[in-house]
Symmetry: C2
C-alpha cells in the first residue's frame, strides 16, 4: 500500500538485542543475551496481598485517571528516599515525575531537549535503549570511552575545554549496561564540577544501583550538583512488568517534561504506582527485598566469572562487576564477535556482540554476557558451550 | 539555574482542562469540566478476583518484561473482536500494537509520521489531547468544521480536490470529544473513498464507541478501507487507571510504530494487559459490562440536557449526543465563555470554554459540559448554578 508519506523511519533503529531474542527462544538454547531480571526475585506474594487490599479496600481511585507527575503516594516515597540518598530535601511537587519505566524518562528528555544536530555525550559502550530513545530526535552523538571505573570524565573535561557544548551528558554510573563498570567517586565529583562549570545537564541513569553485591555504595552524581536528572526504576528491584520508573531533576526541566508526559500518555498507570508505592513504603520492606535478591545476582555472577576463568582463561579478558546483571568481555583472538556468535548459537549459547552497544556498530572483539536469568549450573554449561564455539571459531580461521 | 540549552517548550501547550482541574478541586464545586469516566462503572470485584488469580496462579511472567507490541493474550482478544467489528480478518501479529492508552497511540503516530510543516487535518472543535500530541512535532494544522453529524467530509473533499495533501486525517467518529457528534454513515463511506482515492492515512480514534445509549451502531471507517489506523482503549469501558489502549493499522505503519514504541517505553505494562485481557475474554463479560454502565451515562445525559432545556431554554443551543460523555453547547448571548466561566466558578460550577478545543484559541460562545462524574441530582443543581452565573453575566454586561 502506498501513502502520501514516504515510508521512512526517522532514524529508528531496531534493537539488535530484541532481534536476538528470537534466536534465544530456540529449544535448549542457553541465553546470556537477555537483560531480564531473574523471575525468582519478584515478590509475588507481597504483590498479591497488596493488589487484593487495593482493589478491595481503596475504592475506584486506584483505577481512575491520576496526576501527570505521578500518584502522590509514590512521589512521597520517592521524595523521602532521595532526600536521604542525595543529602538534600527533594520536594514531592515539581522535582519528580513518574514514568513508564526509565526508558520513557529518556524518551521524554530527548523530546523536550534534543533538536536535530544537538550534541549528546555518552559513554562508549552505551546503553542501547538510551541511544534508541535519543536518536529519534536526530542528535549528533559524541562518545567518551569508559573503562572499569566508568566514563573517562578526564577526557570529557578535555573536550569541554576545547569548546564542545553538549545538550546533555548521559551516564550509567552503577554497574553499567553493558560494561558492568562502576564510576569512581573521583569521577563522580569531577563530572559534577564540570556540570557546574559549563552549565551542563547530566542525565544519571541508575536502574541497577540497588543490586550491589561487592564493594561500597557510592553517592550518586546528583548528590554533588543539582544539574542532574536522576533516573531510576522498580524494574530490577521489584518487577519490570509494571513499567514504573521515575526521574528527579531541576524544576525548570521537570516542568517541560511534565507537559511532554501529558501529551505522551496523560500519566503513568495508576494501579501499578499505587501497588508499588504501598509495598515499598512498608517499613523495612526494601531492605528485606534487597537482602533476598542481591545474593541471587552475586551467586550467578561468581558462577559465570569463575567458569570463564576456568574454561576460557587468557583467551578472554573481563573485570568482575560489583553489582548489576552484566559481565563485559573482550576476546583476545576474535576480531568480530558477531562471527563467534554464529558458532555459539550452533553450540547452544547466545550472547550480545559488543558492537551492538556502539554508535557506529563497527565490528569488535567484545561481548556482553548477562548472568541474570540462568541458574549457576546453567551458567557453567553455557560457558562450556561457549568454549566449544571458540574452538570451532579458531578451527575455522 | 541556567543551562547550555535555552528553556523552551518545543510547541508544548499545557492543557487548559488540566489547569481547570485545580479550580474544580475547590470544596463544593460541581464540575462539568472533567472527562473522567464515572467511578461507578469500574468493575472492581472482577478486577480484584482476576488480579488475585494472576498473581497467585500464573507465576512471574505476569510481572516480567513482555513483547513490544503487547501480550499475546490481549492481542488475541483484540484480533478476534475487530475481525467481527471490521468484517475482515485482523491478524494477531503485525496489525496490532498495545499502547499506554490511546493518547500514546497518537504520540507514536505523530512521532513516526509527522515532520515539521506537514499538514495534519482535524475536525474543529478538536480533541485537545490529539492536538497536544501532534503539535510537539510541529505540523501545520488544517481544520474542517464539524456539525452534529461529524466532520464535514464534503469540505475535506473540496480541499483535497484543490490540492491539499495531508499526512494524516484525524477523526473521532463516535460521540466526539468535545462536540458529542457522531459521524453519519454517508460521511464514513465518503471519508474511506477519499482515503483510497488520495492515498491518505485516516486516524480513527474511538474511545467512546461502546458507550452508545441512543440510535443504532455505525460501522467504523476502518471497515470501509484499510487506510486507517483505528485507536481504542479500555479507559472508558473498563477503567482508565491501567492505561491500556491499542491501535490496529496497516502493517507497514505498525512496523514503524513498533520501533518507536520500543524506544518510548519498551512495551505496555504487562500486568494490566494480562488483567484486562483475562477479564474481557470471559464469554459475555463485555456485553454485561456495557449493559451495566451504558444506562448510567444515558441517565446522566438526559438529566443534564433536560435541566438545561428547563432552566436555560433558548439562551443556549445544543444537540443531544447518542453516547459518550459530553454535551457541546453554544450560548446565544455570550461572546466569550471564558468570561462566563469566571461567574460560573463563583456560583460553584465549572465547565470548559469552547475555545480550548480550537487550534487558534480565539474566544467563542461555546462550552463543553461533561455529565460523566456527577449524579443526576447534582447535574440539576449544576445547571441551577449555571443559570445564576448566566444571570450575573447578563447583569454585568
Amino acid at each position: 500500500m502506498s501513502f502520501q508519506f514516504a515510508t521512512r523511519t526517522k532514524g529508528l533503529r531496531s534493537s539488535a538485542i530484541r532481534d536476538l531474542l528470537k534466536v534465544t527462544e530456540m529449544p535448549n538454547m542457553l541465553s546470556l543475551a537477555g537483560g531480564l531480571p531473574t523471575p525468582d526475585s519478584f515478590p509475588l506474594p507481597d504483590l498479591r496481598r497488596e493488589a487484593d487490599r487495593l482493589l478491595g479496600e481503596y475504592g475506584p481511585r486506584v483505577v481512575q485517571y491520576s496526576a501527570t507527575d505521578g500518584v502522590v503516594e509514590l512521589r512521597t516515597w520517592i521524595a523521602a528516599h532521595y532526600s536521604v540518598e542525595l543529602g538534600r530535601p527533594v520536594s514531592v511537587d515539581g522535582e519528580i515525575i513518574v514514568t513508564h519505566g526509565s526508558q520513557q524518562a529518556l524518551d521524554l528528555l530527548a523530546k523536550v531537549l534534543v533538536d536535530p544536530g544537538d550534541v549528546v555525550m555518552s559513554e562508549s559502550p552505551a546503553y542501547l535503549g538510551a541511544v534508541q530513545a535519543l536518536e529519534l530526535f536526530e542528535p549528533r552523538f559524541e562518545v567518551v570511552p569508559g573503562d572499569e571505573h566508568g566514563m573517562c570524565v578526564e577526557l570529557l573535561a578535555e573536550r569541554l575545554a576545547a569548546g564542545l557544548r553538549p545538550k546533555l551528558v548521559y551516564v550509567v554510573p552503577n554497574f553499567h549496561n553493558p560494561s558492568g563498570a562502576t564510576m569512581s567517586l573521583e569521577r563522580r565529583r569531577l563530572l559534577a564540577q564540570l556540570a557546574d562549570e559549563y552549565e551542563l545537564l547530566i542525565v544519571e541513569d541508575d536502574p541497577y544501583g540497588a543490586i550491589r553485591f561487592a564493594g561500597e555504595p557510592l553517592p550518586p552524581v546528583a548528590s554533588f550538583t543539582t544539574r542532574v536528572v536522576h533516573l531510576s526504576t522498580f524494574s530490577k528491584i521489584v518487577a519490570p512488568g509494571f513499567r514504573v520508573g521515575w526521574m528527579i531533576g531541576p524544576p525548570e526541566v521537570m516542568a517541560m517534561v511534565a507537559r511532554a508526559k501529558q501529551a505522551a500518555d496523560l500519566h503513568t498507570a495508576t494501579f501499578p504506582q499505587m501497588l508499588l508505592a504501598n509495598i515499598v513504603s512498608q517499613a523495612g520492606w526494601l531492605d528485606a527485598q534487597k537482602a533476598r535478591i542481591v545474593p541471587m545476582y552475586r551467586e550467578r555472577c561468581v558462577a559465570l566469572a569463575d567458569a570463564i576463568d576456568d574454561r576460557i582463561g587468557d583467551r578472554i579478558r573481563f573485570h568482575r562487576p560489583e553489582g548489576g546483571m552484566f559481565l563485559w568481555t573482550e576476546f583476545r583472538d576474535v576480531p568480530d564477535t558477531k562471527v563467534l556468535l554464529q558458532h555459539a548459537v550452533e553450540a547452544g549459547v547466545a550472547f550480545v556482540p559488543g558492537n551492538a552497544f556502539t554508535i557506529d556498530q563497527a565490528p569488535d572483539s567484545k561481548a556482553r554476557f548477562s548472568y541474570s536469568t540462568l541458574a549457576p549450573d546453567q551458567l557453567v554449561e553455557a560457558v562450556a558451550r561457549l568454549t566449544r564455539a571458540l574452538d570451532a571459531f579458531d578451527a575455522g580461521r
